[in-house]
């Protein structure tokens, strides 16, 4: 017992020390941002992706503000665990960060942003798309993307394809089932016949499932809502069973350079949400600089994760500078400044409503074409013709 | 008090007990003899519930035991010892007896435990580790002690005397006698040494190939030619 406490006291003393060492930054014009992200655990990949975007935003801001202000970000791995995310946010706030950018997975962002709200510190993210998050109406919570945006893009594409029958194959996690259900409702309302197929994360052989789609549903299009290894499994099964469909459509982490590289023959003609074409064909100067910096820092083409991470952080930095100029930063004026945001960004126009959600958010759809990702929806952003009907087989 | 009728036990086709039938009266002492593998221990296992018979009746004081688990039989008053001593590990001698008393007799009676320790001459070993710090005699004594601590009315002793040299054997015998009279127990003793049996038990059962081949007073039984045949060499007549 006494030993217990001795040990406890000792360890915690070191803790206190470390907290002290990482204490608030010295000068006023030196802004410290906090970032809580999954760098290990199931979400490690996406977490790291977003973190790259954040780093790019910081780098670009420091270049732009050279001489005047400087920005730093201190990052803590939440290990894809809500409890650790909360601890991370508290530590960062204890270290005196101006605001928080990051967070992945609605179920982790939930408690993490709650902790930030308690401390009155801004938490901006693009890692959790569920309505519940903005539904809480926190004053300090901001999000640049949402389920609706993904659903809109998928539905939009499906309607361009004039699909009459759609089979939705979706993972039984929160974000994925929310999106799948939203797609079903909207499409059914528009008179499209939709059949739903839920699957579990441990599924590795999708043939029985796809065979059901092939023999029972006979849809025009198969809509997939999951993550990388789910897509790979589904597409392989489809490639084997060759159901008579006109297109295979997915959402996030599908139309990416990574997938194009890892599974070239499997991805051909597959659709997925993507803000950028690949290789990136940027026109606006900001986008070009973004791509260049990304290349410089990580020696690879930017992907959608990095892009979202970049946009959310850039908007945050802009707001910080505005608030600082107006002298309201110290007085907690940052949330109001962020709410005034109205910017054209890499992901389109961004404004924030009272709940911190971005009503303008609409995703874009890309299609894998010969190792490239070509934007095919909406027309406004399309940089190539959609191949339709077309499948990987 | 205990009645067996036509009890059968099969181990994968091998008949360990063939329609064994006998009764034990209150306070009676019976010697159970027979060559190795005759089924003596199996008989004890059946009575104490370690082995389930494939057929037959088994009543204790008018109640059938067949459906009861070992521990319930122990609480009814059937105490047994194991041929190879099985002390309770990680426990002292006294703790062995305490466990037996708390669970077997459902009482808490230190006097009786001291009494048992005294009778079995384990007093000075009371606080030594039962598993590791006992000599063979003491192990055998503890086997009896555990059974006694459950306040049994029937005591089944499996070769508690075997492997003891004559002097300690005599002493142990006397202790057993004392125990029996002190607690007015019925006893069934498995034992190879005929004189010991004769001295302790007015009645003897002979088991051979799972069958009871003789039942009666020692002198009568041990003159029975069939018994002698079954026993060739093993008896000291």
């Amino acid at each position: 017992m006494t030993r217990t406490l001795a040990k406890l006291a000792a360890t915690v003393a070191t803790a206190a020390l470390m907290v002290a060492l990482g204490g608030p930054a010295a000068q006023a014009k030196d802004f410290l941002l906090g970032s809580e992200l999954p760098l290990t655990g199931n979400l490690a990949r996406v977490g790291q992706g977003m973190h790259e975007g954040i780093a790019v935003a910081i780098d670009m801001a420091n270049k732009a503000q050279a001489g005047k202000h400087s920005f730093k970000v201190s990052t803590i791995d939440d290990e894809t665990s809500p409890a650790k995310a909360v601890a991370a946010v508290e530590k960062l706030i204890g270290d005196g960060v101006v605001a928080l950018t990051g967070g992945y997975g609605s179920n982790i962002i939930g408690p993490a942003s709650e902790a930030a709200q308690k401390a009155g510190v801004v938490y901006i993210t693009s890692g959790g798309v569920t309505p519940d998050l903005t539904g809480r109406g926190y004053k300090t919570f901001f999000r640049i993307n949402n389920t609706d945006g993904y659903a809109l893009a998928m539905i939009g594409l499906l309607q361009d394809m004039a699909a009459k029958k759609v089979s939705v194959v979706y993972l039984n996690k929160e974000a994925t089932s929310n999106l799948a259900k939203q797609v079903k409702e909207t499409l059914s309302a528009k008179g499209v016949a939709v059949t739903m197929h839920e699957f579990d994360g441990s599924t590795s052989d999708f043939k029985p499932l796809i065979n059901k789609v092939k023999l029972q549903d006979r849809p025009d299009v198969v809509a997939m809502v999951g993550y990388e290894n789910d897509y790979v499994g589904i597409l392989r099964a489809a490639k084997v069973l060759k159901p008579d469909v006109k297109a295979m459509v997915g959402v996030w982490s599908l139309a990416t350079s990574q997938m194009a590289k890892e599974f070239p023959d499997l991805m051909e003609n597959v659709h997925g949400t993507s803000m950028l074409s690949f290789p990136v064909e940027f026109t606006q100067p900001e986008a070009l600089e973004f791509a260049a910096t990304y290349k410089k820092l990580f020696n690879k083409e930017p992907d959608y994760l990095g892009q979202f991470g970049y946009v959310q952080t850039r908007l945050l930095i802009d707001a910080i500078l505005r608030a600082d100029a107006a002298g309201t930063l110290a007085g907690g004026g940052l949330p109001d400044e962020l709410r005034k945001t109205d910017a054209q960004t890499l992901i389109g126009r961004v404004t924030f409503d009272a709940k911190g959600d971005n009503p303008n958010f609409t995703h874009r759809m890309g299609q894998h074409q010969g190792g490239k990702v070509v934007l095919v929806w909406p027309k406004a952003f399309a940089n190539g013709a959609m191949r339709f009907p077309a499948t990987p087989w | 008090m205990l009645t067996l009728e036509g009890v059968h036990v099969n181990f994968g086709g091998v008949q360990a007990l063939k329609s064994a039938s006998f009764a034990v009266a209150e306070g009676e002492s019976i010697g159970l003899v027979g060559p190795n593998g005759a089924g003596k221990t199996t008989l004890f296992n059946v009575i104490s519930g370690v082995v389930r018979p494939s057929g037959g009746r088994l009543d204790f004081r008018g109640q059938s035991l067949l459906k009861l688990p070992e521990w319930k039989r122990a609480r009814l008053g059937i105490g047994r010892s194991f041929q190879i001593p099985r002390p309770l590990g990680h426990c002292t001698v006294r703790e062995n007896l305490i466990v037996a008393q708390r669970f077997g007799a459902r009482t808490n009676d230190p006097q009786r435990i001291d009494e048992i320790l005294d009778i079995l001459n384990l007093r000075d070993k009371a606080d030594s580790d039962a598993a590791t710090e006992l000599a063979l005699t003491e192990h055998k004594a503890l086997e009896v002690g555990k059974a006694l601590a459950t306040n049994p009315s029937l005591l089944l002793l499996d070769e508690v005397l075997a492997g003891l040299e004559t002097t300690s054997k005599r002493a142990f015998m006397e202790r057993l006698g004392a125990v029996r009279d002190r607690y007015k127990l019925a006893m069934v003793i498995i034992e190879h040494d005929i004189p010991t049996i004769a001295a302790l038990c007015p009645r003897v059962l002979v088991l051979n190939f799972g069958q009871i081949i003789a039942d009666g007073a020692p002198d009568a039984v041990f003159r029975d030619p069939e018994v002698i045949r079954s026993y060739t060499g093993e008896t000291t007549l």
Binding site: M1, T2, R3, T4, L5, K7, L8, A9, T11, V12, T14, A15, A16, L39, T40, A44, D77, S81, P82, V86, A87, K91, G94, S106, N107, G110, P111, E114, D132, R136, N172, K173, E174, S177, D200 | S48, G49, P69, E70, W71, R73, A74, R75, G79, R86, L88, G89, H90, C91, I98, V99, A100, R102, F103, G104, A105, A131, K146, A149, T150
Partner: protein, 319 residues
């Protein structure tokens, strides 16, 4: 003398720690998280030490406890502290479903329990109307303010989990010293020898399983109200099994306080030292500690420390 030490320790735990770290929520949060692990580790060790059963599925009890408590307090408005106990009860009831597993030996039991954990997790995911499905439950009611003491915060949470652990340890110790404890210890080697002297061994094991489940459930329920958030993957996460086992083994699962010491040491080391050193996969260090402990000092850390303190006490430190 002994009482003086104990008193001082309690004072330090209840007053000292909050005074020291109450100001830094981060550290307080870490301590609470460590104690949460400690609670499960204690329950796990109880089952292993007294019941002689290794479980790889304590996450099942943790999850059931947390969901029971959360759902009762959210949907039926049961007071949080009452829900906490009901959570433990729920876990104990769940353990009844596992009674058949008691007939199983070593690895069979360990993984049968693991299978249960999987099943409960899947059920929690599929029973959407009650559990909120994969989305889980957001903003679960926090601990209320009683007699002017605000239990909702970090320090309040600390006091609650500390109390849970002390009570559990007390019960554990009482059982261990009782005739039940003796019988259970004896059972490991020769179960039959205990049965023929009237010990209903299976009942005793069942009781230990239920007790272990109850404690784990209460701790899980505490965590649910402390974090005020639940989802199947989190509530039934294997970390609720891995960390406690590591902690118990590290501290010494045959002692009462070993698991608690182990949990504090392992968790705080992991979060404050290993994590900064290797952010990716620093759990590896836990694995190394686990193996090293098993190979070098299977008794765990605490017995070694104790033995160093008083030269005798081999058996007692072990008992």
């Amino acid at each position: 003398m002994k009482h003086a030490i104990l008193g001082a320790a309690l004072l330090a735990a209840y007053v000292g720690v909050p005074l020291l770290f109450g100001g830094t929520p981060y550290v307080m949060g870490l301590i609470v998280a460590a104690l949460t692990i400690a609670g499960v580790a204690l329950a796990w060790a109880l089952l292993g030490n007294l019941g002689g059963m290794v479980s790889f599925g304590h996450a099942a009890f943790f999850g059931v406890g947390s969901y029971t408590s959360a759902v009762l307090s959210m949907k039926l408005g049961v007071p949080v502290f009452a829900a906490l106990l009901l959570g433990g009860l729920g876990a104990a009831v769940a353990s009844v479903a596992m009674l058949p597993a008691l007939r199983l030996r070593g690895p069979y039991f360990a993984l049968a329990i693991l299978a249960y954990a999987h099943i409960f997790q899947i059920l929690a995911t599929e029973m959407t109307p009650i559990t909120g499905g994969a989305g889980g439950l957001l903003s679960i009611p926090r601990f209320p303010t009683l007699f002017g003491l605000e239990f909702g915060g970090k320090t309040g949470g600390y006091v609650i989990i500390l109390t849970i652990i002390l009570l559990s340890a007390f019960v554990y110790d009482a059982v261990r010293r009782s005739a039940w404890g003796l019988a259970l210890k004896a059972m490991h080697d020769t179960e039959i020898a205990t049965r023929v002297i009237g010990v209903p061994s299976t009942h005793l094991k069942a009781a230990m399983l239920a007790l272990s489940a109850f404690i784990t459930g209460v701790v899980g329920a505490f965590n649910a109200h402390f974090i005020s958030f639940l989802e199947p993957d989190y509530a039934f996460s294997s970390t609720w099994t891995v960390l406690p086992i590591a902690a118990a083994i590290f501290g010494g699962y045959r002692t009462v306080w070993g698991p608690v010491v182990g949990a504090l040491a392992i968790y705080l080391l992991d979060q404050l030292v290993f994590k900064p050193i290797l952010p990716h996969g620093h759990q590896m260090v836990l694995g190394v500690l686990l193996c090293a402990m098993i190979l070098l000092s299977p008794g765990g850390l605490l017995p070694v420390l104790l033995r160093r303190r008083r030269s005798e006490g081999g058996r007692h430190a072990h008992a």
